[in-house]
Each structure stands twice: as structure tokens, then as C-alpha cells.
């Protein structure tokens, strides 16, 4: 940092920092000494100070006529307006949200009911089957049947047992020959087609599993 001023150029280089109070004390003293003796640099200093003072005056920041009014109007439109819009939006948002929740709950209930409708009857308990009823099971299937049922797979391997034993061993009733004992609710609702399709699907699944070696 220049501590002794040799030339006016040294002054001009620092004059802006001097005005802003951003020169070190040693340099400041040297500059002040120079200002007292150099009329040119004193002229530059005061002229520059005038520039800073004049332009720094609030009166220099003129805005166009009507600027404030237009700004206020724009803010009223876009700021307050949007907030009011949000506010009115939130006012009807609550009941709408409630309705959506209710509708969602209804749909959930319906979907659960529907899930029951399409749920395989083989997964349902066979509560009404007499435990001592003689039934038939065979290899390659998890179903138990009444003797003579046309849907018994691999008749050569069929074995007889009671319904209680079959259920205990994890077999489930055939939806064709033991339909009367199933308590699925399906018959109450009556989608008979779905029932048949579902049963067919289960049979197809049984077919697939047996083919795949399961």
C-alpha cells in the first residue's frame, strides 16, 4: 500500500477508497497532507465527493408518473388476488377433500367386496361340509371331491377319506361337486358366471400346476 504520496496519480487511484473510508490510517494521513498542498487533487476530491453526494440523494431516484399506483395495482391483482384465490380455493377444498375421502372409503369397501366376489372359492372355508362325509382326493390336485365327481384328476391315484381329514390335510372342496356345502356368499349375490369362470380358472391353474410338476 502506498504510504507516501509521490505523484497525483497515486492520489487518484485511491481517492474513491478514501471517500468510502477504506484506506489504512497511514495512507489516509499521507493523502490528507497531499490534499492540503495540491490544488488539483483537492479539486478531484471535492468534485468526486459532490458526485457521490448528489447521486446518492433520494431525489435522484425518480420514478415515472403513476409508477406507485401501477405497482400497487399489480400487487393487488397478483399477490392479494392470488392469496384470495387460494383462500377461496381452500374454503371449498375442505369439503371436496372430505367428499374424496368418503368416496375413497366407499370405493375401498366396494373393492374389498368385489375382491371377495372374485376370490377363489377354493380359498374359502368349507364350514358346512359334514365332517364325516366320505370324499376323494387324488395326486396332483389339492381338491377333494364326492366320489364319482367328473372333475377328479388322475382317478387311478384317488383315495378316500373323511372331509374332516381332507380339510386337515390342506385339501379344499371342489366347487363343482361340493358347491352346496360352500358358504361363499357368492350365491347370495348371484354372479353365477363369475363363479363358473372362477372355478374354471382354478381348474386351469390346477392343470398348469400339475403340468409344471408342482
Amino acid at each position: 500500500m502506498v504510504e507516501s504520496i509521490r505523484h497525483c496519480e497515486d492520489m487518484w487511484r485511491e481517492i474513491s477508497n478514501y471517500i468510502d473510508g477504506e484506506v489504512e490510517p497511514g495512507l489516509r494521513s499521507a493523502m490528507e497532507e497531499h490534499f492540503h498542498s495540491c490544488k488539483r487533487c483537492a479539486s478531484v476530491l471535492v468534485g468526486t465527493r459532490n458526485v457521490v453526494k448528489l447521486y446518492g440523494d433520494e431525489r435522484m431516484l425518480e420514478v415515472p408518473a403513476g409508477f406507485s399506483r401501477r405497482l400497487e395495482k399489480r400487487l393487488a391483482q397478483d399477490v392479494v388476488g392470488s392469496a384470495r384465490g387460494w383462500s377461496s380455493c381452500s374454503a371449498w377444498l375442505v369439503p371436496v377433500a372430505a367428499m374424496v375421502l368418503i368416496a375413497g372409503a366407499v370405493m375401498l369397501t366396494n373393492s374389498l367386496t368385489f375382491r371377495n366376489l372374485i376370490k377363489s372359492q377354493h380359498a374359502l372355508p368349507a364350514n358346512n361340509i359334514p365332517p364325516d362325509l366320505v370324499v376323494v382326493v387324488s395326486d396332483g390336485s389339492r381338491l377333494f371331491h364326492v366320489p364319482g365327481c367328473e372333475f377328479i384328476r388322475d382317478k387311478a391315484s384317488e383315495r378316500k377319506m373323511t372331509a374332516k381329514e381332507a380339510i386337515h390335510d390342506g385339501y379344499v372342496p371342489c366347487t363343482r361337486c361340493l358347491r352346496q356345502y360352500l358358504k361363499t356368499g357368492l350365491t347370495h349375490h348371484g354372479p353365477q358366471v363369475a363363479e363358473v369362470d372362477d372355478a374354471d380358472g382354478d381348474e386351469a391353474k390346477e392343470e398348469f400346476l400339475s403340468t409344471a410338476g408342482h
Binding site: T48, V51, K53, F67, A83
Partner: protein, 222 residues
């Protein structure tokens, strides 16, 4: 507190009130936003004008900057000065508009030209007898007009720094951050802008800008 403090630094004049307003707006009382920004509308406009140089564009940018400030008011943190935050948003908005208007090519040429100038030191040209100019001079519209015209002749990069630093009263670091340049560049450009304006106004004296001001014959205000 003196009147000039109230005019030039509304934050000092009503810091507590301003903090309350900020908290209220952040809390959802949007209708108070205009009251919050009203003390700074001139400065916001001037910051936009410093970059765009066109009154209509500056007004549009100022309005847009205010809306962006509102949209982001929850991000404002109390450790910053609200005015600085507001002006930085304005500067960003104005710079973005200028880029959008494809003046960036011309600006690039200006900057290349100016970089060479910046490397050389600026020597004052006028060394007439000096005197401190009375601030009453600004009461005259003609004087304000002349000062504005002189400012408009400065190269963009000097005018931006000068306006943010000496008219918006940002400090060196804040000016640097707002414009995305170094503090050293701010100081260099500021020195040059001040000295150039001094010479421009000295020339204006020769043309009789201040002929009706109460100076002694033969003396200039600088």
C-alpha cells in the same frame, strides 16, 4: 434520527416495523406485502433502470421483481437486509430480461472494449477551482435531468456498479454479489465511474448547466 436517515435508509427508520411486516407476510398476510415493499419501490425501479436503461422495461422488471420477492418471501432470512435481498432479486430479473432480449452480444462487445479501459487508470481531466455543491441544487429538475443524462452516457458496467453502490447504497460486497463480479472489480469500476461523472459534470458546467446556482464567478463546484 435525522430526516435523511428516514429517506435514505428506511430500514434504520423502521426496522422493528419491517421485521413485523416480514413475519406477517411470511405468515400469510399477503395484503401487507405492498406496505412492506413501498419504501423501496424507488430503489427497485432505479436498480432495474441501471441495467435496462429503458423506463418501460425497468418498470416491468421492477413489478416482476416484486412479485418474485413475494413468491419467495418465506425464503428470506432475518440475517440479511431486506432491501439488499429485494434489490438483488431486481438485478437478477433485469439481467435475465436483458439476456432474453438478446442484447448480450452487444454487451459482450462493450465488455471487451471496456476491459481494456479498466486495465488502464483513469486520469481526471478537469482541475478547476473547487467548491462543495449545495444539495439544494437537486431541487431543480433541470439539474436532476442533467445528472441523469451524464449517468446515461456511462458504459453499462460502470453505470451498474455506480448505481448499486452510490445510489442504492449497497456495500462493495453486496454490489459484487448482485452483479456476479469480484469486489476488486467493483472498486475499480466505481472509481472510474465517479471520476468520469465528475469530468462529465465539469463539462456540463462549461455548458451552463449550473449557471443559476449561487457559485462565485470563476469557481466550479468541483
Amino acid at each position: 434520527m435525522v430526516l435523511t436517515d428516514v429517506v435514505n435508509n428506511p430500514e434504520r427508520a423502521g426496522g422493528g416495523r419491517e421485521r413485523d411486516l416480514i413475519a406477517s407476510v411470511q405468515g400469510g398476510q399477503s395484503e401487507l406485502f405492498y406496505e412492506l415493499v413501498r419504501p423501496y419501490e424507488r430503489r427497485v425501479y432505479a436498480a432495474a433502470l441501471a441495467i435496462l436503461r429503458n423506463e418501460q422495461d425497468a418498470e416491468d422488471a421492477a413489478q416482476e421483481a416484486m412479485l418474485k420477492a413475494f413468491a419467495n418471501i418465506r425464503q428470506f432470512r432475518a440475517e440479511a437486509r431486506f432491501s439488499t435481498w429485494l434489490i438483488q432479486i431486481t438485478v437478477n430479473e433485469a439481467l435475465m430480461r436483458r439476456r432474453r432480449e438478446r442484447t448480450v452480444v452487444m454487451e459482450g462487445i462493450d465488455n471487451r472494449h471496456g476491459r481494456g479501459e479498466e486495465e488502464t487508470e483513469y486520469a481526471p481531466r478537469d482541475f478547476a477551482d473547487w467548491r462543495e455543491i449545495p444539495s439544494e441544487a437537486l431541487e431543480r429538475k433541470e439539474v436532476r435531468q442533467r445528472l441523469a443524462e451524464a449517468l446515461a452516457t456511462l458504459d453499462q458496467k460502470y453505470r451498474q456498479v455506480f448505481m448499486l453502490r452510490d445510489m442504492e447504497h449497497l456495500n462493495i460486497q453486496e454490489t459484487a454479489e448482485a452483479l456476479g463480479i469480484s469486489a476488486a472489480s467493483v472498486k475499480t469500476r466505481l472509481l472510474r465511474a465517479r471520476l468520469m461523472l465528475r469530468d462529465l459534470l465539469a463539462a456540463g458546467w462549461e455548458q451552463g448547466w449550473f449557471s443559476r446556482l449561487p457559485f462565485e464567478k470563476g469557481n466550479k463546484p468541483w
